[in-house]
């Protein structure tokens, strides 16, 4: 103000009229259009993440909200629980089966379908269809298939392959693998589609060049094709990885975590702790642990992605 009053009147006019001008539509439009989604995401995603973290730090362990701060006590208690320890082991085990199965089968089918033989379009669709089902449907069907008294065991019996019979979902040793089987069945088609897109994107010239240099088909695959598929593989790992960490519906339908804790998952226990036992703080703590687990997977990917973009 002091400087403004010191200036002569004529000089003062121009800047003020500029600063008073209303923002133009051009400038306002992007803000206007973005604001609803920004506000909604801020409240319904980040706001709720904040609320969950807060709930996990208090002593809300009944139907009555109780916001007495207890620090990390809920987490301490959680990691001491036999059930949650089993959950973490199961998650790692399941993720390993699921990722390995999807990627091996997905890559295998993609390579086969990339041979441009007759009928590839048909099989491409056949492999993709399971993806269109929800996990609930997959789970129900596979529960029937793996029922030890009626499903695949009966077929094995009729084929005189009785020694292959198994308790499937009812045996603690096979239950988690059986669960993985259903999940792989559903998601390997998705992996196949990603790899197929990747394979089609590799220019034929590169392979031609390698062939000219005397590489055999095996070397061609491992030295040319496979390295070029690395970004696709990484995307597949990220996408499948977070599905597997958060898996709930399949477990709920197929085993409900049983027998014992053999197929229990953090997400299922989160649901039971929150809505079955009214241990809201414990449920929130599990949710935060899950969030961190997914973040461990996603954040490096995002960083890698962003760096890639800035390099371009």
């Amino acid at each position: 103000m002091a400087t403004a009053s010191a200036q002569p009147v004529m000089v003062e006019r121009l800047p003020r009229s500029r600063s008073l001008r209303l923002p133009t539509w051009e400038k306002l439009t992007p803000l206007l259009l973005l604001s609803p989604s920004v506000i909604l995401i801020a409240v319904f995603v980040y706001g709720f993440i904040g609320a969950t973290i807060r709930t996990s730090l208090v002593r809300w362990n009944s139907a009555l909200p109780d916001y007495t701060f207890v620090g990390l006590h809920n987490y301490q208690r959680l990691f001491q629980l036999e059930r949650f320890q089993a959950d973490l082991v199961n998650t790692v085990h399941f993720t390993a089966i699921f990722l390995a199965g999807c990627i091996v089968i997905g890559l295998g089918t993609a390579v086969l379908l990339d041979q441009r033989l007759r009928g590839t379009l048909f099989f491409q669709n056949v492999y993709m269809y399971p993806l269109a089902l929800s996990f609930v449907v997959t789970g129900t069907v596979w529960r029937w298939i793996l029922n030890p008294n009626s499903g695949v065991n009966v077929i094995l019996d009729n084929l005189h392959l009785g020694f292959l019979k198994s308790g499937w979902l009812t045996d603690t040793h096979t239950a988690l693998n059986s669960l993985g089987l259903a999940a792989v069945w559903q998601m390997s088609g998705f992996c196949m589609a990603m790899f197929l897109a990747g394979l089609r994107g590799i220019p034929e010239e590169l392979r031609e060049a390698a062939r000219v240099d005397g590489a055999n088909e095996w070397q061609l695959f491992w030295r040319i094709t496979f390295p070029l598929l690395r970004p696709i593989t990484l995307s597949a790992v990220i996408i499948l990885g977070h599905i597997s960490l958060k898996i709930f519906d399949l477990v709920y339908v197929m085993t409900f975590g049983g027998p014992g804790y053999a197929t229990d998952m953090p997400s299922l226990y989160m649901w039971i702790a929150t809505f079955g036992q009214f241990l809201y703080s414990r449920g929130a703590a599990i949710a935060v642990v899950l969030l961190l687990m997914v973040a461990v997977l996603i954040v490096p990917y995002l960083v890698w992605n962003l760096r890639g973009e800035t390099e371009q």
């Binding site: 259009l33 009944s62 139907a63 009812t170 409900f256 079955g276 241990l279």
Partner: protein, 565 residues
């Protein structure tokens, strides 16, 4: 669709259209009407075309989509105008959008459609102005943005509209929440609704039953509604701690003591049962029915043919099982544990009742006695002794499938609540001919209460109607109508026994004389956090069969959840 709905949608259409106009800097023909129609068309585009076309190609560059959209729009519009049918449905759309489309279809003769098609088509010409591709993309993008804005308003307002109309007309409605969706229980509920409608003909009843998971899904839904301050008018809940430790403690319930007294239920409902539903000197819910949790069901013909008698104690049971196995039945005990092991928890509580008696049972479930007591280890030991005679696929079957094993003759015994009876009879098995029931081993003279009740939440929208409902629930007429269908016995002792089958009559007689104890597996004796923890422990016990470890783990749960309760 209500009139308010239509008006709201038209208004939103107008707003969206006007925003769109502003953004494209060009008026639609027809002024406000044109804007409304344009807004509705935009909404339809977003809902029916864009997200379905674009979604699978998110990674694609944005320059790609105008061509695709113009094709889709052109196809959709021309098809509709040619055949006079609605736009192609490619997936389920939310209700509101169906309405938008319906409105739009009726008004398809309105002119602006062609203009809009021209806007998208080719992307080159717009009036006299020649647009660059870039300009076109940016303007089309803005229009779409405006439409999204309008759409979110539409959804929001439509949602508001619905909830307003639901809450606005308070009287004349009654919402009853339960998990009674199975055969029998559903019919029993319908019978009670009939009685209610006879007494209060002007009240419309909403049946908000939630299926699945033996009530676990329903309880989750209820928890969300109670926490969110939107309780149903009255809801099904197991008698006792399930209600008292949760919603009563959170002071979200209204005591019904005055209703209880004015209806004179003291003289009709046993005092043991009243004690279960009471806390802090008040009564909190009305018992509708009583199930018996401690029953041993057997295939009568098979048992007779093997000349074995129904066991009277835990040790009897073990020897009966081993005799049956010796006589060629590999798995004489049918065991289910699917859906969270509550069936095994019933075995445990019945055995604790058998080993320790009613007083010890009540004490241990109240945290006043220890789970490491010899009586509890005795109970666990019995289960351990029986397990070799049970099917090993218990985690894949539920109680009704275990019933099937009795019917098929692959098993002889099943320890389960008396809902098993309804299941047997529905499968054309005749009581006391094909199957029989005795109290579970060692619990003669004791009655494990599994009881469904209805309570009165604070803030019920139709409180007076809900009070009427509670009176029907506790009435002789209501219980006489409900219980034969459900397969339970009435909580009142003055309902005529002639309505019931032989086994229910036997149970009704015992209900009047036996010691009544609340079930923990079904929420009456213990709070849900304890009962759920016990479920987990029993699931573990089936695997490790370790009596000492399980007993000490149960005590840990007791320390954590029962002492503080």
């Amino acid at each position: 669709m209500t009139l308010t709905h239509l008006i709201v949608l038209l208004l939103v259409g107008a707003v969206a259209g006007l925003i769109g106009e502003r953004l494209v800097s060009r008026g639609t023909p027809g002024g406000l009407l044109g804007a409304i129609v344009a807004g509705l068309v935009g909404a339809w585009l977003m809902v029916d075309v864009l997200h379905l076309v674009i979604a699978p190609e998110l990674s694609c560059c944005s320059a790609w989509w105008p061509a695709e959209v113009s094709r889709a729009v052109g196809a959709g519009a021309s098809r509709r105008s040619q055949r006079g049918e609605g736009p192609p449905t490619r997936g389920p759309s939310p209700d509101a959008f169906l309405i938008i489309r319906r409105v739009f279809d009726e008004d398809s003769r309105w002119p602006p459609l062609g203009t809009w098609r021209r806007l998208f088509k080719g992307g080159g010409h717009m009036g006299n102005e020649r647009w660059s591709r870039r300009q076109f993309v940016s303007r089309a993008g803005k229009t779409a943005g405006g439409v999204v804005l309008g759409l979110s308003f539409a959804d929001f307002l439509a949602a508001c509209g619905t909830s307003n109309s639901a809450t606005g007309s308070g009287t004349g409605k009654l919402e009853i929440f339960s998990w009674w969706t199975g055969p029998g229980e559903k019919d029993g509920l319908a019978e009670m609704f009939k009685i209610y409608s006879k007494k209060y003909p002007s009240v419309t009843i909403t049946n908000s039953a939630v299926a699945g998971g033996a009530g676990s899904t329903a309880k989750a839904v209820l928890a969300t509604r109670m926490q969110g301050g939107n309780p149903p008018d009255s809801f099904q809940v197991h008698a006792g701690q399930e209600l008292i430790s949760s919603w009563v403690k959170a002071s979200k319930m209204e005591p019904i003591t005055s209703i209880w007294n004015s209806e004179g239920w003291d003289s009709k409902i046993p005092k043991d049962l009243k004690d279960i539903v009471s806390a802090n000197g008040d009564v909190w819910s009305v018992p509708v029915n009583v199930h018996r949790g401690n029953a041993l069901w057997y295939n009568k013909k098979l048992l007779d043919s093997k000349s074995v008698t129904p066991p009277q104690s835990g040790d009897d049971m073990t020897s009966a099982l081993s005799q049956l196995k010796a006589k060629g039945i590999a798995t004489p005990l049918a065991l289910a544990s699917k859906g969270g092991n509550w069936q095994v928890q019933m075995l445990l509580e019945n055995n604790i009742l058998a080993a320790g008696g009613a007083d010890f049972y009540k004490n241990v479930m109240a945290g006043k006695a220890s789970f490491t007591d010899a009586k509890v280890t005795q109970a666990l030991t019995w289960i351990k002794q029986w397990l070799p005679y049970a099917n090993t696929d218990s985690s894949a079957i539920d109680w009704d499938e275990a019933d099937n094993r009795l019917i098929a003759g692959t098993a002889v015994f099943h320890i389960m609540g008396d809902w098993a009876k309804g299941d047997f009879t529905s499968k054309n098995w005749v009581p006391n001919t094909d199957f029989g029931a005795v109290p579970s081993p060692g619990t003669t003279g004791k009655y494990m209460i599994v009881c469904d009740t209805f309570g009165l939440p604070k803030g019920a929208k139709d409180r007076d109607n809900a009070v009427g409902w509670l009176k029907v629930c506790g009435s002789q007429e209501g219980q006489a109508a409900f219980n034969p269908k459900k397969g339970s016995i009435p909580a009142r002792t003055d309902v005529s026994a002639s309505l019931f089958d032989a086994i229910a009559q036997q149970f009704m007689a015992e209900f009047k004389t036996d010691t009544l104890v609340p079930s923990s597996a079904h929420g009456s004796a213990t709070p849900p956090n304890f009962a759920n923890g016990v479920n987990d422990e029993m699931g573990q016990f089936l695997q490790n069969k370790d009596v000492t470890k399980t007993a000490s783990n149960l005590q840990k749960l007791s320390d954590e959840f029962l002492k503080t309760a």
